[in-house]
Amino acid sequence: MATADTQTRRYQEPGAPGNAAVVNPDPRTVTGPAGGTGQGDVQTVDGQLRILTEELKLANADLRSEDRGNFCDHPPEVIKPFRAFWENFLNWARSESLWILGFGTGCGAIELRPLMTSRFDMYQYGIQGRPTPRQSSVFVIGGYASVKTMKRIVRSYEQMQGPKFVLGLGSCTINGGMYWDSYNTVNRLDHYIPVDVYIAGCMPRPEALLAGFVKLKEMIKRGECEGANRYAENFEWYKANQKRIIKNWDMPDYNW
């Protein structure tokens, strides 16, 4: 049945986060505005991105000052899992109750719909759709992510409560796919949000998606899906990457 192979990929460690300074895993990033006039770009101090203030709050530098009070300025935190047995039990529950955020970000979203049908019946795997990120635990990125969509993806991802999992659906999420050289499509999704499972293909069929879910469940049960913690740990790196492409930021640095 599986017409597209499912490929999982461990996350490339971007390096240890620095002290209120941005880790720079790629010499081409972050320092100095990349291309363009720099107007509306990432705020820099001494040529480096400032996400956190000295009180370790979010700087929210791109928000208008009158808006700042309306957004929470707490940065995300790494939350340690419980110990062995208990965490295993919780992970089992998490893996058996995967609620997908109903947000079709690209053309791949069309492959999500058949899962609801009697033929694929995702419910038997404990998977169901959920219309609000607050209650969802899985974010399926449905294919290519343009810069504009990326902004919404980041926002929705941050609004989900951890532990949360991301499925990259389709080649575009892996390396840009057929849009690899577009001025407007990101190439590597994992530079912007942590991804747990990639599903290759253009487009992968629903079966492949289901296979990806099964893979995800296995990984959750093994305790390997700590994307939320990774995101918090390397928060500044992710932010720098995001802000580098999202020019009109106009939102807090972390969307609670």
């Binding site: 009158e66 808006d67 009070g69 309306n70 957004f71 929470c72 707490h74 935190e77 939350i79 947000f103 609000t132 990120p133 607050r134 919404r152 993806i153 926002r155 929705s156 609004q159 409560q161 106009d250 939102m251 807090p252 969307n255 609670w256």
Partner: protein, 1089 residues
Amino acid sequence: MVSPVVLIAASLGFAFLYPLVERLGERAATRIALLVLAAFAGTTAGWTVSLIGSGVALTADTAGFVAPLSIQLQVTAVDALAMTVVTLLALAALVQLTERATDRWHGKQVVLFFVLLLGSYGLIMTRDLFNVFVFMEISGISVFGLLSTSRDGRVFEAGFKYMVASGLASVFFLIGTAFVYRSVGSLSIADITAAAPVALASPVGVMGLLFLVTGILIELKPAPANGWAIDTYQAADPGIGALLSAVNATAMVFVLVRVMPILAGASPVFVPLVLIAGAGAFLIPQAQALLQESFKRMLGYSSVAQIGLVVLAIVIPAAGVPFAGVALAVPLVLLLNHAVAKATLFWIADATGDDASGFGGSLPASLRGRPALLVVAAIAVLALLGLPPFPGFWAKWSLVMGLAAGGHIGLLVVVLLGSLLEVVYLGRWLIMRMRHVDDDATVVSQRIPADFAESRADAVSGAASGASDASGAAAGAIPVGATVSLGLATLLMAGASVAALLGSGVGMPVLIVLIGVAAFAVLDVLRIPLRLQAIVAIAGLSWWGVSAVSGAALTLQSGFVLLFVGGAVVQLVALLARPGRRAGLVALIVGMVLSLAALTAATSPLEVFVAWELMTLTSFFLVVRGRFAAAASVRYLTFSLASALLMLAAFSLATAANPAFGTGGGVIGTLTTSVPWAAVLLALSVLIKLGAIGLHIWLPSSYAEAEDEVSSLASSVLSKAGILLLFLGAGSFAAPLFAGVALNQVLGWIGVITALAGGMMALFQEDIKYTLAYSSMSQLGYMVLAFALMSHLGWVTALYLAVNHLLFKGMLFLAVAGIVMRTGTRLMYQMGGLIKRMPFSFVSVLVGIIAVSGVPPLAGFGGKWLLYTALIEQGWYLQAALALFSSGIAFLYLFRLIHSMFLGQRKTHHDTVTEAPAAVLIPQFVFLVIIIAISMFPNLLIKPLQTIVEPAFASSVRWEGYTVISSLGYWNGNAVMYVVIGVFLAPLLWLLAVKGRTYRVEQFNIVFAAERPHTPQSTHYAYNFYGHYQKAFGRLLDPWVERFWSGVSATAGTVSQTLRAWNTGNPQTYALQILLYLFLTYLVARGGL
């Protein structure tokens, strides 16, 4: 003692001498004229004092002969009193006319003034029929002279009309006199009276008397043949108007008094004739005045109407009505009351210098900021309307009682209807004049800014007069003349009021009301700040309340005293939050509370009614203080006084049937009457006050547009007066009405429909105060429903609901007051998210709405449990279902209220809003503690209420510990509370145990379809919250009642217009009218012959 002739001679003499006196200089001459007039006043006053003492009449026969050969002048005590008042008013008038800023009187005007006075003196004193004619001519010519001195063409024209009309009247009178002389052979009234039954009973004699009486009536300017007089009032100098209305009319009434015995003796047709004439003269002008735009013309209508009332009052004793005391007391008091008040109003028209009657919103609020003038104007209007403590009230009360006792139901209706019409136009004039300058007098329902802008102008709806006082003060100093004349008039009125009060025999509680108001008014005059006054009021009322109830057994009376005084004292604390001065506020509140207390203590129908009227008055002046309350207070005044008039009618009918009606006092069923109509009228009266459906249109805007603290008092405390009255009149309502349906069943349905309709209306209000006002209406509906059950449980429920409503509505209105104070808006959609800024207010509102909606475990559920148990027990199943439905609707608007204000998105400009002042919060939390206490221990409230109801019904529930058991079910408030605490704490602890790391986020941290909110305004869902509900009900929710009353108002306007069209302004028409009037009297008399 000075002979009466001297007065005549002196007037005449001074009039002749005046041109010589004027050689001393104009000012000096007028001063001397004043001195002369003062001397006259002294003379008449001297007569009054000595005659009242001696009880004999002062008689003077002219030319050395005795009557009937000579002209006899006679002064009785009554005459002397009237002349004193007339002289004093004339003196006041002359002061004003000669001392005012422009167009001062001098020369021949003063001469004519004295001639007019001479004529009036003569009319009062003479006992000779032909002499009456002479003095009538003198008066008429002098008035014409005064009018024709004006260079204004309109005035001259009016003078001409006056001349024609009074000439006709004189001719009639003269013809009549000739006939009478032919039949009797004497002109002495005494002789004629004696001879009348024999000599004048013939058709010729009757014909003569018909001419005679028609002449007098025409001189009294009766509708519908009075257009000429009205034109005169409108065109003439207000000073002339005052003279005509106060001096001349008074004198003419005395002529009628003299002639009445002749008429009554001669033929039985005359009493009905004059009654009909009086009724017409009273009712028609009141209707005509309704849409009157010229103030002077309106006063003219009012004058002729009042004289009509006096004529009625004169005739009724002759018709055999038993009156206590002096035979002429009622008409005399009415007459003098009218004279003083009307003269005052004419002078105010002169002082303010504009003639607009305050019809419509564009007219100037010319009395705002002129407190002295306002007080005088208010006194004059209230006196004219016959409200306590002014003398007119006592006269009207006696008149109505007399009418009912005499079985004159038709006249009773005429008097009450006319009085109501008078309330509408005079009240409207007063309100328009005292309204806030910003008020366009159109606000009778909530107002939504067209562009959704945040309107900060609406902000200080509560801050009534403060700012405008200063600006208004500059609007005009009052001229010396007006000051003296108005001051004199006010003194007269005050003296008369005191005399009336002392003579009326009302009890101490009523007097205390007036003393209380006066005392705080003095504090205002001394410029004592509001806070200090409030503290004094709190201390005083607490002391008074405690001393009134301490030691007394718990009865309906003491229970309601506790409710009224306690509720008010707690809420008065909120006034401490307002700095500065607020003239009259505390005085009126104290007056209102004391009059409520007086209502509980009343021992006779009169005292109940006086207390009721005082409550209406004080609360009216509280409502009218609101910034945009003008239109609302017109409604408030009209409906409240309509309610009072209905009550008056009910009392009069009940007393007529049973003279012992209402004596006893303070217990359930005091005001029980077995007359069905009286019961219906009483019920109607109370239903108006309770804002029952169909009669409610005054309620929302009055409660909402009043100042915030006043709203809370009115809604929580004042509204219970109606409930008290229901209990006082309890026995009346059980009587079968028609086809076996008892009145209480009708009341029950009205109650439940009111509850439902009030709730429905509350749903769709954006203005928070309108929501609460409609909510009050709805809650009062429940109380009526519960009361109407006429069972033990029903009455306990009604009282329980009353107490509960007092508590939560006080909390809600005060919380809203605090919020409005801080946010500067009353529109809910302009608020939002205030929970974090005003947490205490939130708690108060939360407890309040739980208490309203009846959600256990709070006390509100007790009310619901009692209500449904009582309803089902009595088999009122459908009512029970409807009540439950409307209770669900209450839940809806309450959630909307708390959500729109406290939850959702906070506006950016409210980020710096602070918690309401402590003084506003304290009363709320006092109520909160009480609510929690009676929720935990329902027996604390229910058992005392059972005690109160015990005299009427035996208990139908029993207690087992904290469980109250009825025949249907049971309820243990205490156990419920513990269970609720248990089931609340368990999940809370569980949540605290299992929750992960919880981050406190801000208002824009919401999932917004992957976008972010940009403005709180567009994110806060509050406007048109229940649009779908409105859609579902469709046209059922149209404002039918509002439309009905608009129709009534429009119809009244049309009638008024039609009647007014009769007065064309054309002299020929007027002459024809007078001739037709003669024909009409002839027809009426023929009908009787």
